[in-house]
């Protein structure tokens, strides 16, 4: 398991290679990369700044990964989330899940992302032509997490 909170960019290919290195039991790796967009709620976004709660963030992400391990048979999980100032097109978050078969990998990857959106203590502040604004939580994210119960 690898969990990292960092300001630097990450490389999906390098992370997947690191998961595979030295092992031949992995049959599937599903990955998700979330990117900063230039439009949100009908307004242009020039940049965003991600704040987090050091200590709790790592703990919350580890708890999500543990919960995924309890639901599916997984061989490895990597979660990387960036903080600081990001511009449109920048990668924000990476989740990669390795398992023997694709079903577990796809499901666990989506599960981790759905719960990360509602449980991990990150907050986005956007720079728009109208000024800075904090992103509001979406009911659709709560609903996405709720369907795993």
């Amino acid at each position: 398991m690898k969990i990292r909170v960092q300001s630097e960019a990450f490389d999906l290919g390098a992370e997947v290679d690191a998961m595979r290195e030295g092992r031949s039991d992995i049959g599937a790796i599903a990955s998700f990369v979330g990117l900063a967009r230039d439009l949100n709620e009908g307004s242009g976004v020039a940049a965003m700044t991600l704040e987090h709660y050091p200590g709790m963030t790592e703990k919350a992400l580890a708890a999500l990964v543990d919960e995924a391990h309890s639901r599916w048979i997984l061989l490895d999980v990597t979660v990387i989330h960036r903080v600081g100032r990001l511009v449109p097109g920048d990668p924000i978050v990476l989740v990669a899940v390795a398992s023997s078969h694709r079903g577990e990998a796809f499901a666990a990857c989506e599960f981790i992302m759905d719960f990360l959106k509602t449980r991990a203590p990150f907050w986005k502040k956007e720079e728009t032509p109208q000024g800075e604004r904090w992103v509001e939580a979406r009911a659709s994210d709560d609903a996405a997490a709720e369907r795993w119960r």
């Binding site: 924000i92 959106k117 990150f122 907050w123 904090w134 939580a137």
Partner: protein, 83 residues
């Protein structure tokens, strides 16, 4: 009891405060919230029961009736928006 209280994101900005040490007579997360609300102004406004803030005790999100251990780290923040 003595608590270390942290504020994040929009609430940190509205309160003009990132953290403080709090000495108060209370036992639950709801008691801390009530204590802070009693300051009035933005505190009363943002911590009103109609507002969607979250409370974490020792880095776990809790319900408002959660008991507080002595020297707990209590964090109050808006619903999260990462990912």
């Amino acid at each position: 009891m003595k608590l270390h209280v942290l504020y994040f994101a929009r609430l940190r900005e509205r309160f003009g405060l990132a953290e403080e040490t709090l000495e108060f007579d209370g036992a639950t997360a709801a008691d801390v919230v009530a204590h802070l609300q009693a300051r009035g102004g933005v505190w009363a406004e943002e911590l009103d029961s109609s507002r969607p803030f979250r409370v974490a005790v020792n880095q776990d999100i809790v319900a408002l009736d959660a008991a507080l251990p002595e020297h707990a780290e209590v964090a109050i923040f808006p619903p999260v928006t990462g990912g």
